[in-house]
């Protein structure tokens, strides 16, 4: 207590003592105060000493110094996922404290988390092992702290519902803080993990965590078990893509994202300051992968970022997304490409269902969805022509005149998806032979009807996930089509020249990784399928 806070000023309204009396009284008060302070200090020291004497457990808990690699004891640390088989063992593990709940002052329960796994740990006051102070300290651990735990694994009489490893718990002997939390969490992991549907149907008032709040605090949001599973699946799709293509003779390539000219379509390309000039960000590896075919690579794929300067603020548009692109030579007919792409998707769908059942189930708790369906067996994937797809919509009441491109009307696209699902019981299908007018200049026209093209789109749950076609490999026809679409062939000389030096017939397609992930899991917004999403309004974090 500072002197300022001691009320020594005289009360002007009182008929009071003289000045000297006041001075005496002030001195006396001062003396009294000092004595009281001294006594308090002594008591505090005594308490501390007492506490120190009583707390036999000081070495069993507390803050670790910042890890600067000062030592390397080489002690084995285990994963929570392995604990079920370690009954009776003493284990050492690093984990997040998802929650810490005291029961009275003699017991505390910690819910420990590692990625998708969690386990219950507990501390109970025990002579010579766990002190009251240790329990108090553990009970005060902030949610999301990272701790180093040593304890004994014990079978539990009843399954612990709040943990993913439910048949054992850890009886903690030592607990140390590796990394604390500085400030308030933007939201709790429990709130962030709850299904929207649960919030609507239960009577309890939950804190709804809005998508924008999640994305502003993406590092915390990504820690939910749901998101850990989502991004495990994102990696799995890339892996299945590569495995299928690798075993079909494809070579992985990496093409530059910095381009000298605004290609394909000038409107939606990002401009970059490039030393004293300008460059542009590639809207796709289209030109590069075709040039790789002209360079005899035969079959290529690329996994890389794709940039679109479209001011589209929808559930399915990003300004930067991952393109899974491929291009291959054609021996006879572009259906060779379309069929390979179909095989690729089936292998991805099967791979996800077979190898990631647990993750899909876990994600389904937060994002309930009908299981993704596709057709297997001899009948195979449903393939409609554009004309047949239009007929299905017209039959359902859509005005044929208004049906320019199914693809660019999300409503019609989804309606078609719904109608196909009802009729054919599949969430996955192909539309072939789009009108030439709807496709880019490099698309090969049909051999008989030049208003139709050798191109296709693939759909999942009524949304487009792949666009592809046979490409024009003849330089004169290519230049002609460029001009007819308002592109100056001279502006893409390097590209056309590639075909002048001889090029095999070829075709390919581009897949949006985040779209496949979003639609397979029904995440409803593409931002949830991107680690740190970018849209016209978001460049952070």
């Amino acid at each position: 207590m500072s002197e300022n806070q001691v009320p020594v000023a005289p009360d002007p309204d009182a008929t009071g003592p003289s000045k000297s009396e006041l001075k005496k009284r002030a001195k006396a008060l001062e003396k009294e105060k000092k004595a009281a302070e001294k006594a308090a200090k002594q008591q505090e020291i005594a308490q501390q000493q007492a506490a120190a004497e009583v707390d036999f457990a000081t070495e069993f808990y507390g803050n670790l110094p910042l890890n600067r690699s000062q030592s390397r004891p080489r002690l084995e640390r285990v994963q929570i996922s392995s604990l079920s088989s370690r009954d009776g063992e003493t284990v050492l593990l690093r984990a997040r404290v998802q929650t810490s709940r005291a029961q009275g002052n003699k017991m505390v329960f910690l819910n420990l988390r590692q990625r998708m796994d969690s386990v219950q740990a507990l501390l109970t006051v025990t002579p010579e092992k766990v002190s009251k102070q240790m329990v108090k300290w553990a009970a005060g651990l902030a949610d999301e702290s990272i701790v180093l735990i040593q304890g004994v694994v014990r079978k539990t009489p009843e399954p612990i519902k709040s943990a993913s490893v439910s048949d054992v718990e850890v009886h903690v002997a030592r607990v140390h803080l590796i990394s604390g939390v500085d400030g308030r969490l933007p939201f709790s992991l429990e709130d962030a993990s709850r299904a929207d549907i649960e919030k609507e149907t239960t009577e309890v008032q939950y804190n709804r965590v809005l998508l924008d709040t999640r994305l502003n605090n993406r590092v915390v949001d990504l820690r939910t078990q749901t998101n850990q599973a989502v991004f495990k699946l994102q990696a799995a799709i890339g892996d299945l893509f590569r495995k299928y293509l690798g075993s079909n003779g494809f070579t992985e390539i990496h093409s530059p994202k910095l381009q000298g000219a605004a290609t394909e379509s000038g409107a939606s390309v990002f401009k970059v300051s490039y030393f004293k000039g300008s460059a542009f960000l590639a809207q796709s590896p289209q030109l590069a992968k075709q040039m790789a075919i002209a360079a005899d690579f035969e079959r290529v794929y690329e996994i890389g970022p794709v940039f679109r300067a479209e001011d589209s603020n929808t559930h399915r548009h990003l300004t930067e997304f991952m393109g899974l692109d491929l291009e291959m030579t054609i021996e006879e007919h572009y259906h060779e490409v379309m069929e390979l792409l179909d095989g690729l998707f089936l292998s991805i769908f099967r791979g996800l269902r077979e190898r990631y059942k647990d993750e899909i189930q876990l994600i389904g708790k937060q994002f309930p969805a009908d299981e993704f369906k596709w057709r297997e067996g001899p009948e195979g994937t449903l393939k409609l022509t554009f004309k047949e797809a239009v007929d299905i919509l017209v039959e359902d009441g859509v005005n044929r005149e208004l049906l320019g491109d199914i693809k660019y009307s999300t409503d019609n696209e989804r309606r078609l998806g719904r109608l196909v699902k009802e009729k054919y019981d599949t969430d996955y299908f192909i539309i072939d032979k789009f009108p030439m007018a709807l496709r880019p200049f490099y698309t090969m026209p049909d051999a008989e009807d030049p208003t139709i093209s050798n191109s296709y789109d693939f759909f999942m749950r009524g949304e487009e996930i792949l666009s592809g076609a046979q490409r024009i490999h003849d330089p004169s026809l290519l230049a002609e089509k460029m001009r007819s679409k308002g592109v100056d062939p001279d502006s893409m000389k390097g590209y056309i020249d590639a075909f002048r030096m001889g090029c095999a017939p070829h075709g390919g397609g581009g897949i949006g990784l985040e779209r496949v992930l979003m639609l397979f899991l029904k995440l409803n917004n593409i931002r949830r399928a991107s680690l740190f999403p970018r849209d016209p309004k978001r460049l952070e974090p």
Copy 2:
């Protein structure tokens, strides 16, 4: 011939005939001309008929119509690499004509190429099978044309040196042009495939194809067997990287290349127009991968483009290259990361040597190099401290005062590489514990000496290929180090905030894919290791 070309105008200088005479003469000339034209036409038709009668082979050769997928006969086409085992079989194959050489007018040899494989094919005039006209047509095929060949595989009495498949040749029965060459090739594939050393030592004058000419015509340059092998190895390195990390519990991530702020170092970052504001291209996935660790991903890797706006026109700098990045939590000591990275490199080196022997040998013909050497067995990879590395250079006569950073002096770096090779017989080694002053702000200082850091570089043939370190996971220390390096912590709030919500100790590294490829194969210029390289002066093709 048009009328304009017939000389009917009178000569004004001659004492000549009357107007009517002139008219008569003109008429007569006209008549004569028409008769001559008629006779010529008849002769042409007669010749064509004669030719048609003689050429029984018209269906066996000629130009195919442009492939627009007009039919799909589903005929099997084979690879040149499989021909050795097909003696006596009739095969169908699509290939490039590398060269076409007539021998007299009755025989023509075609050197057919598919990627890294080539085979000799021949046409010989044979009654009812191969006509003179057919041989003539085949002899006129431009180099680099793409043809469809049908023929019989036959063992050759002597190995054919000019082809990679040397024990058989194809006796052609049908040859059709799929795609021709429009214009002159910028250089021949044979010239482009020759080793520099060969050009210097032989007496024959060869056309040297300069690197810039190659890069300006990259599509043709990439067709050489050497380049086909180089990019097969590039894909292999990525594959080996993923396989090793996948089996060590890493998850692949994709982080955005568009950033809201110019991070790490403002000087060398590309600026992008982003709707009404600006964005910046990521110089590395450093921040994102660390945030993934703060988001509990535990072990992550990313393969993606990295952008550097440095005006460096050297043999080893690109403005866009492929980063192989990884980041992982540390349990006890950052050497866990360094050792994992070492294991990764050994697995890449072994994988290349074991599985790509033929490709390495093929590339070695054009780029002769001592085989890349590394240490195996119990002694393991050579690990020097920065201090030890400096001592080696000083011992060799380098002035200690001038030795700030080995890394930033290419000369000293290479000199060290040479000294290490002499002393330890290895092209691969690690330097640990760089001075703190030389490393970025996010590097963890040594536990005892704050002027030293927990960081390392990896070297191949005396050039740096990986830079990595333990990172600071404490937000206060991070902010302090930022300020000391002149970076405003407020400009990177999202990044620092990631560590406020608790983050495990972690470390990682970034590898330049093109550098590894260039140095393993000794290609001498990084542009040769990039499909379509980008440098301050090159944005095309």
